[in-house]
């Protein structure tokens, strides 16, 4: 469905761990939402920030008399993310969404699935987990982060998933280590037919590799820096291999953000190379 460009109102903004959960009333955005979609936010005022910031849609739910509020997870790092994290209830924000030509594809059969997320990048997996559960897919989840503060919604994860594996770099919660360390075992135990991954490129690559070794499909939500998020600027190239085996360059925003893990030329992506 087509995205809309609207002036959204901040309904709530809550600090949870290292992240700011910003809930927006953005008419038309939540109504069109599918898991894996994102929004592009214009930051600041006066047009000094021409580039926009993209944020995963974490949750869509009725709140405060609105049918479909949209919650974003913001990790304040740069000027743009700090600006959005600093917005207060009642502030207005220019938002375009839901964006992404290809959100997560859901299996037709109720097959076991493994969801793999790291840090704030895990945000799109939670709504996905709900959709998958509605389809009677047994949902298994691996959540990783450097530490507890950067672990997204672990409690909520336990409510939606059949099995949850938590892994942190400093061992503050769950096992100590990285997502890649626990993937083979999680795949074996879940018997997953599809792996859905969201997070930094290294995590996506690990998930795609593990899935391939296990004989499962993988769907990875790419987190490329996008200038516009809408497909206009050609500024988020992703090196991929087409169905025909020919190397191509896709746009993370409109040809993604979700792509099959075995289609990404990971080494070229890491190098910043194109076709």
């Amino acid at each position: 469905m087509s995205p809309v460009h609207v002036t959204a109102e901040v309904l709530a903004s809550k600090r949870i761990g290292a992240f700011q959960h910003v809930t927006l009333v953005a008419p038309g955005v939540g109504e069109r939402f599918r898991p894996g979609a994102f929004v592009a936010v214009s930051v600041g005022t006066g047009g000094y920030h021409l580039a926009r910031r993209a944020f995963w849609i974490h949750q869509v739910r009725p709140l405060g008399g609105y049918a479909a509020t949209v919650t974003l997870v913001v990790q304040p790092r740069g000027e743009g993310t700090r600006w959005l994290a600093g917005r207060q209830r009642g502030d207005r924000v220019e938002v375009t969404g839901p964006l992404g030509g290809r959100p997560f594809a859901l299996p037709k059969e109720p097959v076991p699935v493994l969801l793999v997320g790291e840090g704030y990048g895990a945000a799109p997996l939670f709504a996905l987990a709900e959709r998958l559960r509605e389809r009677d897919c047994p949902v298994n989840l691996v959540l990783g982060a450097p530490d507890e503060a950067h672990l997204l919604s672990a409690l909520e994860a336990r409510r939606t998933a059949r099995a949850v594996t938590i892994v942190t770099g400093d061992g503050s919660v769950g096992a100590r280590g990285s997502v890649a360390d626990v993937l083979p075992e999680a795949l074996r135990r879940s018997g997953a037919a599809v792996v859905y991954a969201a997070g930094p490129a290294t995590t996506l690559h690990a998930a795609a590799l593990a899935a391939e070794e296990h004989g499962a499909w993988s769907q990875v939500a790419l987190e490329q820096r996008t200038t516009c998020g809408t497909g206009l600027c050609l500024g988020c190239p992703v090196p991929v291999v087409g169905e025909d085996g020919v190397a191509r360059t896709a746009r993370a925003c409109t040809d993604g953000p979700v792509v099959r893990g075995d289609r990404v030329r990971w080494d070229d992506l890491a190098r910043g190379a194109s076709a």
Partner: protein, 283 residues
Amino acid sequence: MSVRVAGLTLASPVLVASGCGGTGRELAAYAPLSTYGAFTTRSISRDARPGAGGPTITETPAGLVHATGLPNPGLDAFLATELPWLLTEGARVVVSVVARDLGEYAEVARRLATAPGVSAVEVNLAVPDAAELGVLDAREPFHVGAAVSTVLRELPRGVPVLAKLRADPVRVAETVRVAADAGAAAVVLGGALPAALPDGRPAGLSGPAIAPLALRCVADARSALDAAGADCDVVACGGIGSPEDARHALDRGAVAVQVGSALFHDPTTAARTAAALSPDEGA
């Protein structure tokens, strides 16, 4: 408000700038393509170009620095799929072209000459990192003249050539005179200025940062063309992000404006500017 630009009658003086409207499909989500005076395609080359690896665009105060490498599917694929789709959507299509050399410009133009639905051809002579990208480097005014006349020679009468030039106030007067002498029906000012990405790779600078330079170019170009008695329009581009920006440019002698990188900030910018300039809106 219909307007005459380069001999064409367009529904609005607000055009979509090259490289900033995607394939058209993405922009069509926010307003019908018939909203705009014309849709200028991203620059199309004879052969497909994959574009550069990322990151290719970075933000800078009031602007963008970009080195996308002119990604496009090549002329054949464009003519087979994108152009027909744009036409069914009601767009007036200006095809932006780049080429390696004059021979390739002639070949591209010859093939465009037989394509139905091409309203005009914009020759992109404002590629800031042309040498790096292997396209004709229009560093000197005579390069501009040669490219314009080469393309014009291959096109049927009635398909005008627009010359897209960089926003360089130092050489604008002589460059637009050469473009007009070569037969350009309009000059588009101003394309990206040569710049560099933080890692030093050659790139272009666009956006509000170059707006004052582009405005100066528009005014100087109009004066120079008038002084030469040239029948050549000026289309303003570069940092046009609001109806006010558009009016400034029209007041300085432009007949139309192209909205570009502002679409990355808000994809409705060009549509809103077109609406604000329409007499129906009481603007």
